[in-house]
Every structure is written in structure tokens, then in C-alpha cells.
Amino acid sequence: MRQQFSYSKKVLKHFRSPHNLGKIKDADGVGEVGNLSCGDVMKLYLKVKDGVILDVKFQTYGCAAAIATSSITTDLVKGKTIDEALAMTNKEVIESLDGLPPIKIHCSLLSVDALNEAIYDYLNKNNKKIPEFLEKKHQRSVTLEKMEGHGA
């Protein structure tokens, strides 16, 4: 019966002073996931050179967990190669934030989805090979968007 709902200090820190906030005007890849009806929309921008993520920025509409997971995701992928970034899981996001309340785990999945979508966009625009799992994930998120619309 024990009930707990509290954010870790790290979540609150990222929420209050998010890292890499904003957008990249000439981004090489942009990913947008979530929808307004559910209360979370994340948009992630990538600047890539020689297969390395040089810069990354985000904009998020959502709760503190949505903002914090977006912020930590940008921290985690900056300087990584595309392959390394694609290997990132939501578990890393959660651990880097010193945990998330169970009801907020979906925010960590969403931030990884935003990253994957941005990488998909980059690979697609540059005629690079898209891994099979990424292609499937992209198709799923496109279908979902069509089904749910885009909020109001």
C-alpha cells in the first residue's frame, strides 16, 4: 500500500535548468514524438558531422519528467557516434536521472523515441542506410500519429 510520488533531485535539477534547450536552425536531423492530447510532445534537433553528433537541442511540452528526460538525453548523446546514440536505451536515461516514478517511465521511452526519430531523419535525408529496427520504429510512430491525430 506504500505510495510514493516524488522526483529525484537530478530530475528536478534538469527540469529547472534544462540543458541544450532550444532549436538548431540548420539541423541535420529533427525528431518529433508524442501528442498534445497525452500531454507530452518532444522535439529533438541534431547537428551531425562525420557520423558524430556535434550538437543537439530540444523543445518539450510536458511535465517535469518529460522535460528532464529530454534534457538528460541531449547530455547523453552529445559527442556520440550515430551508432552509439542508436544503442542508447531508456534504462540509461532513467539511471542517469537517479530514477523516475513508475508512472513517469513512459517519458524516458518518449525521449529515446525522439532521439531515434531525429537520427532516422538524418539518415534518411543523407541517403544513408537505415537499420531495420529503426525503420520499423519509424513506421510505427508514423502510424500512431495518423491514428491519434496531433492533439488539438
Binding site: 527540469f15 529547472r16 534547450l21 518539450t60 511535465c63
Partner: protein, 350 residues
């Protein structure tokens, strides 16, 4: 309660409290049943009436009830009752014509919240009471938010049953009442030693009950003065926010509204993030956003009033109280625009 000296003293204290509360409602002491919470009172009223009057199978509630009425009614639906939820208009006022269309000889009870806990809208209970009385249907109102703040006369308003709570009016937690008009057929949901005229078996929470009586006394005494004071502060807060922040609006009625309730939706922000940021600066409020609820569903009250999900996610409720001062309102008016601006800056929607 026991017959020895201390027992009698306790009993007298409880009865004194019962008298104060009865008087505040224009009811008789015998018609006041002490319970442990408004949730308990609301469970008792629907389930107790349902069991005692098995020949009637229809329950009418509004679509903006508190979860304890809503979920008790939905539980009864599973037991074979027909539950009708009356729609409200965009200010949160129950559509009376819909009630007149729905109420019939098969209707067991109409239960309508007196004042909304979320948007502060006050219903015309006298009108509803008259319709129910004419049809011979029991009328219950959940007055948890209004008792002590709005004048209630159960006789004039034709109210058969009423729920009120102690801690909403600065009394201790753990006490509430159900007013049950004499002659109403209702069964207990807790069986035991037959306390409270057989309607609520349980050792009476004497301290909380006495505290509730004291709290009611203070509310009645201060009401007129406090209403004027809070109304001015409430309207100052509403006007100030609507003026200084763009893309926001008041939820609920302007005039038929609790003096302590302010509920405003802000476009392009999600309530939980604003709530946390305000809390960090010493301002405590609540939100109808899904993200702050255990169910991840936005407020059913705001949705019933016609708001869409994002509009409900962006709602904030500020409650004023006996200790709210002008300086507090000024502080909120200073901080809120900064916080909304900050959260909107994080969002991709410009």
C-alpha cells in the same frame, strides 16, 4: 458511549457539536450522522439508499461529481442500477432541462455537487430540490466545498440528504457528516454496534467531531465578513492573471462561484511543470493535467465542461483561504507570469 462520568462528558461534547452543525443547516440534531470523511458520507448515501429502496433502479448524478460519488454510482451500475450523468454547460452548470427529462418514478436519488471542488461553480440546488420533491425523488447534495462558505438551508432548498466535511472548513481531518432528513429510508453500510442511530457503526472520533463543531461555529460567525474579503482577493487574482498573461482563460462561472476558487487554463503549458515551478517559489496550487494524476487522465470535470485534453492539461487551480492575504495575491501575480513564460519557452509550440 458509556454511562460513567467521563463517557457522559464525551457524549455531551459530541451532541453539542451535532447541534451547532444542525443549526447551521437549519436541520434537527437527530438528522445529523457523523462519519469519518465526505467520501464515506457519499458512499453511505448512494449505497445505503440503493439497498433500502430496491424497487427504484435509476440514479442521476452530474458529470462533474467528485470521484467518491462518481465511483460509488459506477459501482452501483455494476450491481444493476441505471446511472445517468447529467451534462453541464461550459461554465459547469447542470442543465436543468436534462434533469427534468431524465427524472421519473423509477429514480431513486438525484445527487448533484453543490459547488464544484475543481472549478468552484455553484449549482442552483433550490431549483433542483424543488424538481426532485415534486417528483417524490430523494435529493442529495455533496456540499463538501460549499458548507461554511455558502448559506445552506436544507428546508428551503428541499434537500433530503447532504454531505459536509470538517477539514474543508479548517476543522480536523477525520470527521464529516451526512444530513439525513427525517423519514428517509436508508440502510447502513457499516454493521456493528449501532452507533449514530444505527446508520454508522464505529467508535465516534470525539476529538475530530468536536473540532468540526467548533470550526462550523467560526465559519458561520465569520462568513459574511470573510465572503466579502475573499471575493475581492479572488477577483483581483483572476483579473490580474488574465491581464498579465496571454492565451489563458477562467474555467467555471464568474458569478455563481465559490469565493475561494480560481481555476485558469493556460495554452501551451502542461500544468504539472507549472505547479512544480510555483511550488519551488512557495506557491502551492493544483492542476487538472493528466500528468499529475495517478490515472494519467485529465480532469473529468474540465472535459465535461467542453475543454479538450490539452486545455485541461494546462489548467491550474488556486484556492484562497482564511490565511490568504493581499500580499499573497500580489506575490502570485508577480511570479506566475515569469513561470508561465519560462515553461512556454521550453515548449516547441510558439
Amino acid at each position: 458511549m458509556s454511562l460513567h462520568g467521563t463517557g457522559i462528558k464525551m457524549s455531551e461534547a459530541v451532541e453539542k457539536s451535532r447541534e451547532i452543525i444542525a443549526k447551521a443547516l437549519n436541520a434537527e440534531s437527530e438528522e445529523i450522522v457523523f462519519t469519518g470523511s465526505a467520501t464515506e458520507s457519499n458512499n453511505l448515501v448512494l449505497k445505503g439508499l440503493a439497498e433500502a429502496n430496491p424497487e427504484k433502479k435509476k440514479i442521476i448524478i452530474s458529470s462533474i461529481e467528485h470521484d467518491c460519488i462518481r465511483n460509488s454510482a459506477l459501482w452501483l451500475r455494476k450491481q444493476g442500477f441505471k446511472v445517468v450523468m447529467l451534462p453541464v454547460d461550459k461554465k459547469g452548470i447542470v442543465e436543468i432541462e436534462k434533469l427534468e427529462n431524465e427524472i421519473d418514478k423509477d429514480t431513486l436519488v438525484v445527487s448533484i455537487i453543490h459547488a464544484s471542488n475543481e472549478v468552484g461553480t455553484i449549482q442552483d440546488v433550490e431549483k433542483i430540490g424543488n424538481i426532485c420533491r415534486k417528483m417524490g425523488v430523494y435529493f442529495h447534495t455533496d456540499a463538501s466545498q460549499s458548507f461554511g462558505k455558502v448559506e445552506i438551508d436544507v428546508l428551503a432548498m428541499k434537500i433530503d440528504l447532504l454531505t459536509a466535511s470538517s477539514h474543508k472548513i479548517y476543522g480536523p481531518k477525520g470527521a464529516a457528516i451526512l444530513y439525513v432528513r427525517e423519514g428517509i429510508k436508508i440502510n447502513p453500510i457499516l454493521h456493528g454496534g449501532g452507533h449514530e442511530g444505527g446508520l454508522r457503526s464505529s467508535t465516534v472520533n470525539v476529538a475530530a467531531v468536536v473540532g468540526m463543531g467548533k470550526a462550523v461555529g467560526i465559519c458561520v460567525r465569520e462568513r459574511e465578513k470573510e465572503t466579502i474579503r475573499l471575493k475581492r482577493l479572488r477577483d483581483k487574482l483572476i483579473k490580474g492573471v488574465l491581464k498579465s498573461i496571454d492565451a489563458c482563460w477562467l474555467n467555471g462561472a464568474e458569478k455563481k462561484r465559490l469565493v475561494n476558487n480560481v481555476n485558469i487554463s493556460f495554452e501551451k503549458v502542461e500544468g504539472e511543470s507549472v505547479l512544480l515551478e510555483l511550488s519551488n517559489r512557495g506557491i502551492m496550487c493544483s492542476t487538472g493535467s493528466a500528468c499529475s494524476s495517478n490515472s494519467l487522465e485529465p480532469s473529468h470535470v474540465l472535459l465535461a465542461m467542453g475543454l479538450n485534453a490539452p486545455e485541461a492539461h494546462g489548467s491550474l487551480r488556486f484556492s484562497l483561504g482564511r490565511w490568504t492575504k493581499e500580499a499573497d495575491i500580489n506575490y502570485v501575480l508577480e511570479i506566475l507570469p515569469i513561470v508561465i513564460k519560462k515553461i512556454r519557452r521550453i515548449s516547441p509550440f510558439k
